[in-house]
């Protein structure tokens, strides 16, 4: 299928002092899709996002948004995009409506056009009742809704969201996901960064797994899981000191693809669970390890992430400087 490309990133690098925040990144985003940048803190997702919205200049490489270079045609790009930042970028003393009016002026809208859009957006994000109260009286979820309304005000072709549901309660998260899906039905392209696996899995049409400034995997969530193939066997043992020895013993068995040791046990990628489990249990028995827990499942995004980066997404990155 021949799809229009909304964003092209080509060999993008961004270096701060001697730290490579983004290292030779290349990918496309197709028009009308929800694209995710998934990775832990410090992976380089926000840096990449900021380059795309023209707030940062790349050290080398290019980024093209809707056919326009983000450095040479930055003003034009800014008129076509919307941005929902990670932090609550809110002025406590302004009301919700005043935020939108300010942005309306900054996007050079006439008062009439702005007023119409503001009314629509307040209705969309359900902030009508609170629109004229100062933002300092808003709850976390309301501030997020205001953020989204602000991002949508210029009626952008592409909306960029930086960790949209970070720190929100379950209700608000689901609400935000609903909005994002609704935006897609309106034909908007959405690019978001996230470190939530469930968000990436359920919301994104395609995603790039980013770690240490590099892309480790790129594709649709389902694709990435199927490509991984096989099953994942997870077990926990009581004798945690022997995890290393057990890992070594299991490694040598047939039908084992890879073994990852955790603090309390192992995560093992196998060709097939029925072949591998007896061999694993035997190894555990020989080493006198008592099993506390064992299960197996088809690959989840969690496992995809681990397979490509060597660790779970919650583990700390050594130099987390985003």
């Amino acid at each position: 299928m021949d799809r229009a490309t909304a964003i092209t990133v080509s060999h993008l690098c961004k270096t701060y002092d001697s730290h490579k925040a983004v290292d030779d990144l290349s990918f496309h985003v197709y028009a009308g899709e929800i694209f995710g940048l998934l990775g832990p803190n410090g992976a380089g997702k926000s840096t990449t996002l900021r380059v795309l919205i023209t707030l940062l200049h790349p050290t080398s490489g290019t980024a093209t948004v809707l056919g326009h270079d983000t450095v040479r045609e930055s003003d034009l790009v800014r008129t076509l995009i919307g941005y929902v930042p990670q932090e609550r970028a809110i002025d406590r003393f302004l009301t919700g409506r005043e935020h939108l009016e300010l942005l309306g002026a900054l996007y050079h809208l006439t008062k009439e056009v702005a007023a119409k859009r503001i009314a629509e957006l307040l209705r969309l994000v359900e902030l009508e009742a609170h629109a004229d109260r100062p933002a300092k009286t808003y709850s976390g979820g309301m501030k997020r809704k205001l953020d989204i309304a602000c991002g949508l005000l210029p009626d952008p072709k592409i909306l960029f969201l930086d960790e949209p549901t970070l720190g929100l309660d379950v209700q608000s998260r689901l609400r935000i996901w609903e909005y994002v899906r609704m935006l897609k039905t309106r034909g908007m392209t959405v690019v978001m960064t996230t470190n939530y696996l469930d968000e990436a899995d359920q919301l994104c049409d395609r995603l790039a797994i980013i770690d240490g400034g590099k892309i480790k995997a790129l594709g649709a969530p389902a694709e990435l899981k199927i490509t991984l193939g096989g099953d994942i066997v997870s077990l926990k043992i009581k004798e945690t000191a022997r995890v290393g020895t057990l890992a070594a013993a299991v490694m040598g068995q047939p039908a084992i693809r890879s073994v990852n040791a955790t603090a309390t046990g192992l995560d093992i990628r196998v060709e097939s669970a029925e072949k591998a489990i007896p061999a694993i249990l035997e190894a555990a028995n020989r080493l006198d390890c008592r099993l506390e827990f064992i299960d197996y499942h088809r690959p989840r995004l969690d496992d995809v992430f681990m397979a490509h980066t060597g660790r779970r997404i919650q583990d700390e990155t050594p130099n987390a400087a985003e």
Binding site: R78, I81, P85, Q86, E87, R88, A89, I90, F93, E98
Partner: protein, 259 residues
Amino acid sequence: MKEYWQEISALTMRWVRRLSREKFSMLFTLVQPMLFWLIFFGNLFQRAADIQVTQAPNYISFLAAGVVVMTVLNNGLAGGVDLLFDKENGFLERLMSTPIHRSSVILSRFLFVMTITSLQVLLILGVAYLFGVEPATGLLGIATILLIGMMFGVGLTAISMAMAFSVKSHGDFFSVLGFLSLPMIFLSSALVPLAAMPGWMSFLARFNPMTWAIDAVRPLILSGWSEALPHVGMVLVVMLAFDILCLYGGAKAFRRAMG
């Protein structure tokens, strides 16, 4: 051009709204120079201040010029604080992701600070008038005082904004601010004429742009055009150089901070 104006007026209105919503802060900001320095300090040192030394009818009239320039100093150096907070909470990023001219944010801040400072200066001169201080150069002199104040203020605000963009944490910003303000006031002719200061202090005070400003504003209040004009001419040149330097430094800091 129309767009430029739309951006700047919307951004400036934001500062105005904020000020009007922080009623106490606003009152305090406007009233502080008059209350503490002019009225309290001025009256307190009435008799301690020697008329031969100050060459003025009373200490308040001597002090008035100092209070005017002190106000410009404090407002100017604090002018970048709001930008610092915007940078820290991400609001600045939101503004910069819109298609505004990059300079609009800075210009709106200048506009706001200069306006508030000018209002305060007028208020100070008004209160001084109630205490018997009549500007010898009349309305034109007052306009000249405002001009000097604004020129000095521009450079100071630029320094403040450069600091706001360059510091890593806002603790640094306030430490530097506190460290600079009081010494600058005492090492100037605000409270005591240069001639009456100990040698080393008057030496240092000569390099302080505040001194230049005060030594031009004071004759405008106390003496008249013939005495004031040479100082005024001098200070306008000095302030121009000061402003160019500060604006250049500020622009560099801004560009560096914007990646």
